[in-house]
């Protein structure tokens, strides 16, 4: 049987998953393929390439171009090979005179209505129409070129990343089908009939005015240059490519960086990518221009005080300055007075090295990471209940789910490629349950069969998860065999007693959550009775005062219904940034060494001490919020921050700013002068994912390779900078390549012992654990047992948040993300993605707006117990009345000026999702915003080496 798969080749139609095989003969070659495979694909697998135009192996067969016609023994006519299934004993001929004539005739018709501008066409050299004209031997067009045609059709340049030139369209429908089948947006259609048929975004709109989300699937599908990247139009066709991993969200899409020398021409989603299978979103596909943006920091800089101009220095001087300041601070204030922060935007190797620097060179455990403010409750909750701080499935697992529960997540915006896969499964008939205060776009999925929305009040997650569990237990919907065989009985009995209490009944919880009891009962029954029920959750679960309790509540629900340990089920945290999973795996948290090994575990610590050659502290270090408090208290004095912007992303901005101003030495390593860097004394230029080697680990525990395609703008990859700093501090590090860092990680981390760059190159990617027991990794976790033996049900008492509305702050603010921007926006704000979202707005429900006389576009003062900011109003009924919503992609918006210090009880993850606020119309920016503008102006002036203007502070 032919199993060879080349991700760079298009096999014409999708693979069949059938286990039954059929053998046929194509052009005299015997071919064995799974039943259901098309003749076209069977031929391609045997390296017999049938001409085609409307077929692509990421789309269902369509059979419109007829170019792929073949002759089959004992069959009438010349059937299309794309729509004809291979059958046992079939004899197929793909080339003969009759077929050649037919194909030439077809091509003649296409070319008679196509511009003959091949030499100046941007697709020249990479055009399927051109290739097919060559393949069929087209030599003349008997119809001439003077007939009615589409050559004057108007071009659409409205999208910033690609253009649409209908004069080159052959109406193969690949773009329309890609939009439907791959992306699931249904923004494109074929308008008109016969000769008038044309591709139309929306209802004859421009691309920008249509529902198009700029994922690029249509551009990739186009066999001509009808839909073409503007970067290719500008630069020409690329000459080589490198497979690497996207540096946006936790999906971890593989891309081919298509290059001209060291310039990226375009990023093309890689079909061999195990997480994305050739699909992409607007960020990964198009928003890479920040890498060459003029704002990139290109030279190390130092200064004594944050009011001083920056001084450009050599790497050596900057590193020596940083090391001297750190040593001085420790000498004056003690060993525990300094620390470091790793970033989920950096590679595994980089985060590993930063935490190693802190533990081994700084001599304490004051290391933390930005997962503190997003998924730290996932780490706590899943480790407590299931024994491992990670999601249980592959993304592909969702295609086996019958019921999909989405809690506090917005996949189509925050994890778009997985959102598309989810939509595909929903179109196939899976049921959807959304538990979220907002009506997320997934609920508007075209052809969605059934959907239940439980729009709960922010802050009441645990109450509703308990109510769902109560229904399952009291209505006898538990999976008793799973519980008996897989779960700890004592913990289960304690939980069962707790959850059966009448106070958890949906009817009694309704007053807390605002969700009608019958809706809760229906959702519980739907999930529990599904053959395969899967839960996906995001920051709407974790970023609460009970984030960890909610994660444990989700795990309870999955265990109670036996939805763990096979395809189609599971507990799946959707990680926000590209390497949240990896930065946690790599020991970024102050209490855990790499591989989630506690610092107080003598045996684990001894292994690290042996390899690192230094004694390690056995008490946990400070978490980020504790670092801030200690800085303000005067006991924490120096901080090394790699790739993270705590001044913008962390809550209660004014508190964070006060903490940063209290530091005697702040070292920031970043690609831009971010908000944190404005408080820094040392600036170390960072490198983008295009400029370095390493690995990212996505939300499905998949370790993907990041490959360098261009040199770092400032000359060093990030891991080299950390290494230099360690050496300057007297702690030797001598890695020659990130692969050596991974080798050390593998030696010290039981779940990584089988991971190496060679192995990653062989397998493409690896889902940890990867060790002797699982040499190729583990796609689905907990199939036979849990790492802690038996699953531990946890008692999840609902404890209401202290952040409550009152007459002064009568509304609840919740925050989130949108499709086009990423996290603090440092990358996407420096791309054309700005055209979709150039400012953060406050979404207000129509009834709340009416009460306050608010119109769309009004300036609104938003006040909380922490502070005030001003945002523009957008009237929206996506939230419940009483709830307002904003994003935090623009620093000047000050969204985090209003979020508070309230945090998760177990992990200190901030309660971004619940802030009591008042909203009123105003006419000018807030006091904080005015100060922000002044400070920003000053810092940019200082960056240019200029002294502060008189009066500036």
């Amino acid at each position: 049987m032919l199993q060879y798969f080349d991700p760079n080749k298009d096999y014409g139609t999708p693979a069949s998953l059938s286990e039954k095989l059929v053998t046929l003969e194509i052009d005299g070659v015997e071919v064995t393929v799974p039943e259901g495979t098309s003749v076209m694909r069977a031929a391609a697998l045997a390296d017999i390439n049938i001409p085609k135009l409307c077929a692509s192996d990421n789309l269902e067969a369509f059979g419109s171009c007829r170019l792929c016609a073949v002759q089959i023994e004992n069959r009438r006519g010349l059937p299309a090979s794309c729509t004809t299934p291979a059958e046992a004993g079939m004899k197929v001929w793909t080339q003969n005179e009759k077929l050649a004539k037919l194909r030439r005739n077809i091509m003649e018709l296409y070319i008679s209505d196509h511009p003959l501008d091949c030499l100046t066409c941007p697709a020249n050299g990479n055009c399927e129409l051109q290739d097919m004209a060559g393949a069929v031997g087209l030599r003349e067009v008997r119809y001439g070129f003077d007939g009615e045609n589409h050559l004057d059709a108007e071009k659409d340049h409205s999208n910033p990343y690609f253009s649409f030139d209908p004069s080159k369209c052959i109406v193969c429908s690949r773009c329309v089908r890609a939009c439907e089948e791959v992306q699931g947006t249904f923004a494109l259609t074929i308008d008109g009939r016969g000769f008038d048929s044309k591709v139309s975004p929306g209802q004859n709109q421009d691309f920008m005015d249509s529902e198009c989300v700029s994922c690029g699937a249509c551009v990739q599908a186009c066999p001509t240059s009808t839909l073409m990247e503007k970067s290719v139009i500008d630069m020409g066709q690329p000459e080589h490519s490198v497979v690497t991993t996207c540096a946006y969200c936790g999906v971890g899409c593989a891309f081919k960086a298509e290059m001209k020398g060291d310039q990226v021409v375009r990023m093309v989603p890689y079909k061999g990518g195990d997480a994305n299978h050739g699909h992409s979103c607007v960020k990964g596909r198009f928003a890479f221009g920040y890498a060459t943006h003029k704002d990139r920091l290109q030279t190390p800089m130092i200064r004594d005080a944050i009011t001083d101009p920056w001084r450009e220095v050599s790497w050596e001087e900057a590193i020596a300055f940083a090391a001297r300041r750190l040593t001085e601070v420790q000498g004056k204030y003690g060993r525990e007075s300094i620390g470091g922060i790793t970033s989920s935007r950096c590679t595994n190797e980089e985060t590993y090295l930063v935490q190693k620097l802190v533990r081994a060179a700084f001599g304490n455990n004051n290391t933390d990471t930005c997962a503190r403010v997003c998924h730290s409750p996932t780490g706590y909750g899943l480790k407590t209940t299931l024994g491992e701080s990670a999601g249980t499935q592959t993304f592909d697992s969702v295609m086996q789910s019958d019921v999909i529960v989405v809690i506090g997540a917005n996949p189509t915006d925050a994890h778009p490629v997985f959102g598309s896969l989810m939509r595909k499964r929903l179109r196939q008939g899976a049921e959807l349950i959304v538990i979220d205060p907002r009506r997320i776009d997934l609920l508007k999925t075209p052809h969605l069969k059934d959907a239940q929305h439980l729009p709960l009040r922010p802050g009441t997650n645990v109450a509703i998860i308990n109510a769902l569990a109560h229904v399952i237990v009291t209505e006898g919907l538990e999976d008793k065999d799973f519980i008996a065989n897989r779960c700890d009985d004592k913990a289960y009995q304690a939980w069962r007693t707790f959850i059966q209490e009448e106070r958890h009944a949906p009817e009694n919880v309704e007053a807390i959550t605002g969700v009608p009891a019958e809706k809760v009962r229906r959702a519980a029954r739907t999930y529990a009775q599904a053959p395969n029920g899967a839960i996906y959750y995001g920051l709407g679960v974790t970023e609460h005062s009970q984030g960890s309790s909610m994660v444990m509540g989700i795990a309870n629900l999955a265990m109670a219904t036996g939805n763990i340990g096979r395809e189609g089920v599971g507990v799946n945290p959707l990680r926000g940034q590209n390497n949240v999973q990896g930065s946690c795996d790599m020991g970024s948290f102050p209490h855990e060494l790499p591989g989630y090994q506690h610092v107080a575990d003598d045996a684990a610590r001894a292994r690290f001490e042996d390899v690192w050659g230094v004694k390690l502290d056995d008490e946990p270090g400070l978490r980020i919020p504790n670092m801030f408090d200690s800085a303000i208290a005067g006991t924490f004095k120096a901080l090394y921050v790699q790739g993270e912007d705590i001044a913008q992303s962390d809550p209660n901005t004014q508190h964070v700013e006060a903490a940063l101003k209290s530091l005697e030495c702040l070292i920031v390593q970043d690609i831009f002068l971010n908000e944190t860097a404005k408080f820094a004394h040392v600036l170390l230029p960072g490198s983008t994912f295009l400029e370095k080697n390493g690995t990212f680990t996505n939300a499905e525990r998949r370790i993907n390779r990041v490959r360098k395609v261009m040199p770092p703008v400032a000359g060093k990859e990030d891991w080299e900078v950390t290494q230099d700093l360690a050496n300057a501090l007297g702690y030797p590090m001598n890695y020659g390549h990130p692969s050596e860092i991974m080798d050390e990680i593998a030696r010290l981390t039981p779940t990584f012992t089988g991971v190496s760059y060679d192995r990653l190159d062989q397998l493409g990617s690896i889902q940890w654990p990867c060790n002797e027991q699982y040499p190729e990794g583990m796609p689905t976790m907990h199939v036979e047992d849990f790492p802690i033996g038996r699953g531990q049900f946890a008692i999840t008492e609902y404890v209401a948040t202290e952040e409550r509305t009152n007459s002064r702050f009568p509304l609840l603010l919740t925050t989130g993300r949108i499709l086009s921007q990423y996290n603090v926006g440092a990358q996407t704000r420096r791309t054309d993605n700005q055209v979709w979202h150039d400012e953060d707005v406050l979404e207000v429900h129509p009834s709340d707006a009416e009460l306050r006389g608010i119109q769309d576009g009004d300036w609104l003062g938003v006040s909380s117990r922490s502070g005030q900011t001003v945002l523009r109003a957008r009237i929206s009924d996506r939230m419940l009345p009483g709830v307002v919503y904003t994003t935090f992609h623009h620093p000047g918006s000050g969204a985090n000026v209003i979020t508070t210090d309230s945090s998760d009880w177990a992990t200190n993850c901030p309660e971004y999702k619940v802030t009591a606020v008042q909203v009123e119309k105003v006419s000018q920016p807030s006091e904080w915003q005015r100060q922000f503008q002044t400070f920003e102006k000053l810092q940019h002036q200082l960056l240019r080496g200029e002294k502060a203007e008189s009066g500036a502070s």
Binding site: E336, P625, E797
Partner: protein, 79 residues
């Protein structure tokens, strides 16, 4: 009282409130104690122990019980 200590007291009480429904008082205390031991930094432990010894009035009974059993491993000399 410093803001930092206020925060620590609040955190300890929050941990206690979220573990108070586990079976017996002894089990709840053990859970809170274990949490503080595993996740709190040395300086945080020291501050909350000092507070309990000097005052402790704003701590919940469960938090007090757990903190009273808390021990800190001293910072070792580096090898």
């Amino acid at each position: 009282m410093s803001n930092q200590l206020d925060t620590l007291i609040h955190m300890a009480n929050q941990i206690a409130a979220n573990n108070s429904h586990y079976g017996s008082e002894a089990e709840a205390t053990a859970r809170v104690h274990s949490h503080l031991t595993k996740f709190w930094a040395r300086s945080m432990k020291q501050q909350i122990i000092d507070y309990l010894q000097n005052d402790g009035s704003e701590l919940s009974p469960l938090a007090r019980d757990a903190i009273s059993q808390l021990q800190i491993r001293p910072l070792q000399e580096r090898g």
